[in-house]
Structures are given as C-alpha cells and as structure tokens.
Symmetry: C2
Subunit: 547 residues, 2 copies
C-alpha cells in the first residue's frame, strides 16, 4: 500500500465482491496478524475474521415508498435475535403483516452491527459499516427494509456512536478512533481530538450508507449525552445537515431520533435558534411518571416520580426535571421546553423499552408484574397523548417472557468481568447471585425470545392495543401542540382532553369519580360514563367524546 | 455544628470580624487538623492557615461611577505582583494616572485569589472568595477599585473557575467540588455531577461578591473550554443571568468576557438564538495572524497563520478557523460567525497577552525580539480595527523585561514536578535546561517585574501608543459592525478602511506601494502618502483620511 495525505494508505487492488481481505500493520518492529477493515461492510466469520468485499447490488422493489415524517408514526422497538424463533431479519419479515395490523407504522431495530459471538443486545457493536451475519447480514437487512416498505412500514435503525464494543475493536490500530476518558460502556469516541475528522466521517458515512444504500428511514442515536463533543459544531447538528442533504437528493424524508437523558431542548430545537434540529428524542420522564404510578416502584431514577401530579406536570412540560432538583442526580437538572414552539410529535414516549425491562435484575417486563387492566391503562395513556408512541416488542400481548441482559463474548476474561459486573450491580440493591440470570448463558438469551402462543388474557390485551392505536388515528389524537391539551388530576385520577375528546384514568384499585362525562368511545374495564361525570373502576380508563 | 438539609452543617457561633477559625472534620474514625473554610473571604496566613471573619465595611467614594459597557473600552491586562516594584494593589493605584493618560479605560487584573507562597501568575488559586494577602488582601482590592473608579477607570478581574490550584485546596474534604477527569491544570470542577448545585453556587456567589461587594466591573472567565458542563443550562449562560440581575439591581453595567479557544459563536451569541449571551471573548486568531506576520514564527498553534491573506481573512471573519482544518488541532475547527449580527466590540484583541509571552520558554516579550517600528505597527493594526483592544502591561513602552512563568509552591514535591514539567515541555522543542528560567527561583519572578525607567526608544513607543489610542477615539475607529470594513491585501501589504479612514501597513522590510492615498493622519516611520497611492517604508504604516 502507498501512503497518501492525512495518514491514509491506498492500494490499487481491484475490489471483487466476495474477496476476503484484511490488513497487517507494521508498528516499526513487527507486522501484526491480519485484522479486519475498520470500514468493513461484511464480516462473514464474525468480528475477528477477515473482511469481505460486498456485492452492493440488490433488486429493490420499494419504488412506491415515499417515506415517513415523524408526526403520525407509531414505532415498534424490536431485537432481531429474540423477536422471533428464527432470530433473523427473515423472521421479522414474517411478522410485518402482524405489525401492520396492530397499527404500527415503523419498526425500530435494536443495533445490528457486528458483535462478538452470536447473542448480544447490539450495543457492543464494533464494525459500524457492517451487519451482524447471524441476523442475515447486509443482504438480509435489505430484504427486510424492502419488505417493510412494501408492507407500508418504515424502518429505523438504532446506531451506537458513543462507544465501541469491548471485543473485536481493531480500529485503534488504524487511527485515533478513541480518545482519553471513558463512558460507562468504554472509551470515548474521538469526536473532537487530533484526527477526529476521520472518525466523524466514519460515523457520517455509516449514516449515509444506511440511508442511501439500505433505504433506511431513520436512525435512533444511542445515549447522545455520552458523545463528547465540546466543539463549535456538534456531531448531532452535523448529522442533521447530512440528513437534510439526503432528503433533498432522494426526495424521501428521514428521521433522526436521539436517546438523551439531559432534558435539553437544544436537541430537537431549530438550528436557527441554536438547536441541533433533530426530528425527535426519547422521553424517559413520561415513562417514569407512568411506570411509577402503576407499579409503585420508586427506586433509583424512578425517585421524584410516582404521583398523578407528577404525571400531569410531565405531560404538560414533557421534561419533568426542567431546572428542578433531581434526587437521583443530586443536582438541578434539565431546562424548560417551550411547548408552544416544539411540536409534541418530536417526543417519543412508551410504556416500556428494552432498557426499562432489560436493565432490571431479572429482565422482567411490566406485563409480568401488572394485571391486564393495568397494562392496557398504561398503553391507553401513551396512545391517547399527542406524543409519538413506541412499543417494545411483545408488550402488545403482555408477553410473559423476560428480556434479560445477555452477551456471548468469546474472550473468557471479558465474559467473566461482564458476569461479575452484572452480579455486583444488583448485589448492591439486595439481589442474590442465584436470582440474577447469567448474561453469558445461552439459556438467558433463549428465555428472552418472545413466545408467540398467546393465552386468552394476552389475546385481549392485543385486541385492546389494536383498538387504541386505531382510535388514535380515527380521533386524530396526535395533535400538534401541547398547549391545546387540558390536564386535570386528583390524588388518584387524571384527565386530559383535546377539545372534543377526553381521556380519564384511575390510578388506583378503588373506584373514583371524575367530573367529566359524555359518550364512551372505549374502555378496557367497566366504568360508568354519565353526562356530567364518570365513575372509573379499579385501574380503569375511558376514552370519551365530549358533548 | 448541627447537620442541615443537603449535607450542610451550621453553627450558631457569632461571626466577629477579625476572628480566626477553621474546621476539623470527622471521617468516621479521626478528626482532621484544622483546615480553612472553602468560602473563606480572608486568609491572613496564606492558603494553609486559618480563615478569618472579614470586616465587610469600606468607605466607598465611587458614587459618581456609572460603569462601562464593553464597546469603546481599551483593556490593560496586568499582573499585580510584577506590574510595579511594590507588587501590590497600592502599587497599581500609583499607576492609574499613567494608564488613564495612555488611553486605557479598564484594567484587567490577572487572578488575585489566594495561592501557595508569594509568587504566582494567579491561575493556581484555591479559595475563590478571598484575595491574596501579599497583594494587599480584600481591603487593598477595594482601595484599588475605588481609586480606579475615581480615576474614571473600570476594573475587570480574571477568575479561574475551571480548576483548583494544586496546593492548598481543602475543598474536597467538605464536598464534591471536583469530579472524575482532568483538565490540563488539575481535576475537573464538578459542574454537572452529583452535588454540583453547591459548586455552581460557590462560583455564582463569588461572581456576585466581586460585583456587589467589590464594585468590580467585569469578570474575565479563564479557559472556558475546560469547563465540563454538558447539561441543559451551561454555567456561562447562568452567569449571564446573574450579571443581568446585578445590572438591574445596581443600575451599573458589568461585563463577562470569556477566554475560549473554541471559535464558537455560541459564547457571545444572544440567548434567544441559543447563545450564552456573554459580552465578549478573547480572539487569539487575530493575535496569531498578526504575530506570525511580524515575527515570522510559525511553530505549534501559530501554524496555518503567517500571511497577509490570513490576516485579512481573520479580520473579516474574526475566527480564522471556522469550519476549516487546523493543523495544530489535526481536525476541522470552529464555526462561521455572522458578523452582520455580532458587534465587533465583543471580540477582545491584542498584540500580546500574559500567555503569549509567559508560555514561551524564556518568557520573552515581542518587544525583546522586534524593532520599535514592528512593535508600533502591530499596535497600530489592533487599535485601528473595530474590535475591543487589550494591552499587556509594559508592551506600551516596549518593555525589555521578560514575563516568565513563576511559582512558589511550598510543597517541595509539587515544586519539583512543576520545575520538571516546565523543563520537559521545552526540551521537546529543543531548549536546554540552562536556557529555561527556573519557575521556582525568586530571581525568575524578580526579573519579570516591569522596569519603569524608559530609554528614548521606549519613550517613543509609549508616545506612539498614546497617539494611536487617542486617534482611535477621535476618528471613532471602534465602529460597530465588521461588514462595513473594507479589507484589501497583497503579498506584503494590507489595507482596511472604515468609509472615510484607511489604514495601510507594510509587513515586510522592503518598501511597498499601496493603491490608496489621501491625507496622512499618523505614522511611526516615513511613508510617502500621495493622492492615489502610498509608498510604505520597512514595517511602515499610515493612518489616512480619505478624500
């Protein structure tokens, strides 16, 4: 290879699809073993194997697809490996009709970049331009996107740009992909140090590839608060520019959605007012406010939440902590959001997510702890609010399989440390080692696979989800601005109304009387809806047309 | 003492001015030695000694003082310990008439917070609510501010909030003042971790004290790029709110000026457009563009600079690196500034600073390497541009005393490490240990004291500075917006004009002909100013009234 400007090396070797290759690097004394290409697009033998020149061809049949903007969407987060028995993209394709019938408009894939072994949530990805072979590889992903588009569904990919996985990351041998310091999950990605332009381009070109070559409709950006980028143009803003360019050249809208715990309006704020211009961001505060109220849990980051007042405040302000003290953080947190300017659709809300389930000691879902009425109550709140709702796979039928944390690192020492770390984390909150599933055991992964044989309770929950999502469309509950939403509450009930439609909910096991009546549109329990008031039974709700 | 909410402890002991006190802390096993109060306002025996309850009274006689906004100011940066033979605030008072006559409007004091020993630049301060006793303590500082105001001069204090000094910092025994990670100068100040509200309040209350109790007119915020504050409301924005409040309650304008190397318009941008709303920031790019052109130096962060084209670009854009590649940083740096919106006065410019002198191996000033014509040429450029100019003490008479790096740590190991670090830093760029002054020797400090006995060359330079600063006022060269400034250049000359006044400069030792003529207003050499063109002699400039 010959040296080029900027530390790059080039070779005149013709790239033939199917050709395996790797790099041996000279450190001044010795030549390294053959290692994969940081920009590899295909790793047939996993993260440690040789790279392969990809065949970029694909017979797309999604010519009718015109894309989707975030307003009006219903997202469905899924983990390819546990969503179906097959654990592949092909398996997901089998479920597209089911999802469409459910009322979902967009599937959101947990990360599919290559990781060590064959079992991983995906946040240990190391080769950011490639696709995990076990799921079906890059061809399989294209098949899925193509099929989804033909089924009328958009596809969002969860991408991790804030750290590299702990195993199989050879990038450091090629350049300064990381810099001093660390995130909770590994070295800081070098976005602002010497040589960082090439690292930003590595990310930038990955996003471009998913959009352009893979026809993907959106990227969910993992934990953006751990992107260490103090410079004058933040990576997220740069990605907005890229997205705008790709929208302009392809004529198809795309979305960028951040996961952030900073309660900072800057993320979705317009660029002319100093924002990063992202289309959306996840809102844990809505989750916490609702989850605590129904489950009664208040540990760790659930503290400060747990009353109808908090839920009402959060619905109106989106960020519950907005220049207010967070007990969990031990400091004032967040910033007030101007809900007269920022549309409600920019905020992705949910009754649960992979994290809210999987980061629990046993990976138990809300549906394993709550009654059907409680589960549907939570869903009804989320789907009747104007935010953009997201489901986590299986919640729609009250899945009773856990979603536990699992890995399959092939480095024994890393595996040992991961197991130990997991046990110690939960030991501190009183769990004994026997209670916490071993993340390294295949059985933990297998137990996390969804069981698609529903019992009658599950069938009822599924039906309720379908109805709620249909009513959301028919009653046009995704209204643009929160300022038009009226919210009232008492100790046990909460009511919100969009002009002609009211939603009333009882967050207790005892009946409550709510001073609003009208025509009952939908309920899951047996409330009494009168002309002037409604009596809600235990964990009951009613969607009411106002007179 | 009794425990209060939030980890505070209180005592009912009456506070009597003059009373010494300290705290002994119990770690669960033992009581500590008596240590000073983090919020001490007086340390009569230095950073390790007992604190003292201060007498807050002072007979202010500055009732006529109405304050100063940044536009129209001329700053003068000085180090109290080396500015005068006395090395005290009282010494500075003796020079106020001299400064006023020079044309300065504001003195900017290098940090005066307590540090270990009696010799320090001030960036090793540890007790942020107190004043170094050797300079005259808190009473001496009030005397200086009062005298300055009565002489018609404003006072800006340089404050370091990004790190604590390496010796005498007992704050960590009391609370989480720092958090994991480090700046080039020490631990990261905890602005965003658990318990950080109290640390922010520590800074906030210091700024309030300087403004309200000390009548200070402004704060220069040291190296703000090392403030680690990823939350939704940045400390700098918070300080702007505080400043606005104090302006409103006192009716006297104050200024906040950042030192930043990020070329980020956000710092001085309006808050409604996502900015922090600061009044000003230092602009090293203008310094580098000018310094390299006259000195010929291009090492380290001077690379990329050194031509008239770069100077012209920097004058027009303020940030030279604005989404462009910086060789020194090895990455794209900065962001374009909209000069039609941001007034030029927000940018503080200079021919040199304490850093540009003192961070050189021998602390040699430009005046020790340049001819009088070259020195005055640089000053003429700075004072004829619309930015806010700043002088570094002594440059106005071409001081031939160095301003070297000096410390007087009392901890021998720290002193050894500081000496070693300094030598190693310059060894890498080819300096031998004998050439670099020992930062720990008193002689290094003494040699850095200004010598006020001028020779005739120095008298001439001083006179030129006075004239340039007078002409800046008379010709109203501090025009608000850069868009009205015309800039032209050739390989060796540069010209800029504000409607009716042109400034032409020759950045070479050979005569050049510049295609602009008119009436000569001022020069330091002997150019020929014709009706249509001007012939500039070596390093010559001319300030010209256009016909």
């Amino acid at each position: 290879m010959t040296a080029r400007d900027g530390g790059w090396w080039a070779s005149a070797v013709e790239q033939v699809p199917g050709q395996r290759y790797g790099f041996s690097l000279f450190d001044g004394h010795n030549w390294s073993q053959l290692v994969p290409d940081p920009r590899t697009t295909e790793q047939p033998d996993g993260v440690h194997g040789l790279s392969m020149v990809s065949d970029r061809g694909f017979k797309w049949t999604d010519h009718e697809w015109t894309g989707r903007v975030l307003p009006g969407q219903v997202l469905y987060e899924l983990h390819v490996g546990t969503f179906t028995p097959e654990g592949t993209f092909a398996g997901v394709i089998e479920k597209l009709d089911y999802l469409k019938e459910l009322g979902v408009t967009t599937i959101e894939l947990m990360p599919v970049q290559p990781f060590s072994g064959d079992r991983n949530w995906g946040y240990d990805g190391v080769q950011w331009h490639a696709v995990h072979e076990g799921y079906g590889g890059r061809h399989g992903l294209k098949e899925l996107v193509n099929a989804a588009h033909n089924a009328g569904l958009a596809v969002v990919m969860d991408c991790v740009f804030n750290h590299f996985g702990p195993e199989g990351n050879y990038n450091g041998m090629f350049g300064p992909y990381t810099q001093a310091g660390s995130t909770p999950w590994g070295d800081i990605v070098n976005l602002s140090g010497f040589g960082s332009d090439a690292v930003r381009a590595y990310i930038h070109d990955a996003v471009r590839m998913w959009f352009e070559e893979f026809h993907v409709d959106g990227i969910r950006l993992d934990a953006v608060q751990t992107l260490w980028d103090p410079g004058a143009i933040h990576l997220l803003e740069q990605l907005t520019y890229l997205k705008n360019e790709i929208e302009a050249t392809t004529g198809i809208p795309r979305v960028l959605i951040a996961e952030s715990d900073q309660n900072d309006p800057r993320l979705v704020g317009a660029q002319q007012s100093g924002g990063y211009g992202l289309d959306g961001q996840w809102i844990d505060d809505i989750h916490h406010a609702l989850h605590t109220l129904v489950s009664g849990e208040q540990h760790a980051y659930y503290s400060d939440f747990g009353t109808t007042e908090v839920l009402a405040t959060t619905i109106k302000n989106v960020f519950f902590h907005a220049e207010t003290f967070s007990t969990f953080r031990g400091r004032i947190h967040g910033r007030r959001l101007d809900t007269t300017i920022v549309p409600a659709s920019k905020f992705v809300t949910y009754t649960t997510t992979h994290d809210q389930v999987g980061n629990r000691a046993t990976g138990d879902r809300p549906s394993m702890n709550l009654s059907p009425a409680q589960q549907v109550l939570k869903a009804a709140v989320i789907y009747s609010l104007p935010f953009t709702p997201m489901l986590f796979m299986g919640e729609e039928f009250g899945a009773t399989t856990p979603f536990a944390f699992f890995v399959s690192h092939t480095d024994p020492e890393l595996l040992r440390l991961t197991r130990e770390g997991r046990l110690n984390e939960f030991k501190r909150s009183g769990w004994s080692p026997e209670e916490v599933p071993d993340p390294g055991e295949e059985s933990t992964f297998l137990a996390s696979k969804l069981d698609w044989s529903f019992d009658s309770d599950q069938q009822q929950i599924l039906e309720a989800y379908r109805i709620l999502l249909r009513l959301r469309r028919e009653l046009r509950l995704a209204r643009p601005y929160l300022e038009h939403l009226e919210v009232q509450y008492d100790e046990h009930w909460l009511m919100f109304s969009h002009e002609d439609v009211a939603f009333v909910a009882n967050f207790s096991a005892d009946p409550v009387t709510v001073p609003v009546g009208g025509e009952l549109v939908y309920t899951f329990t047996a409330p009494q809806v009168g002309e002037e008031e409604t009596v809600l039974d235990a964990w009951g709700f009613a969607l009411i047309k106002l007179g």
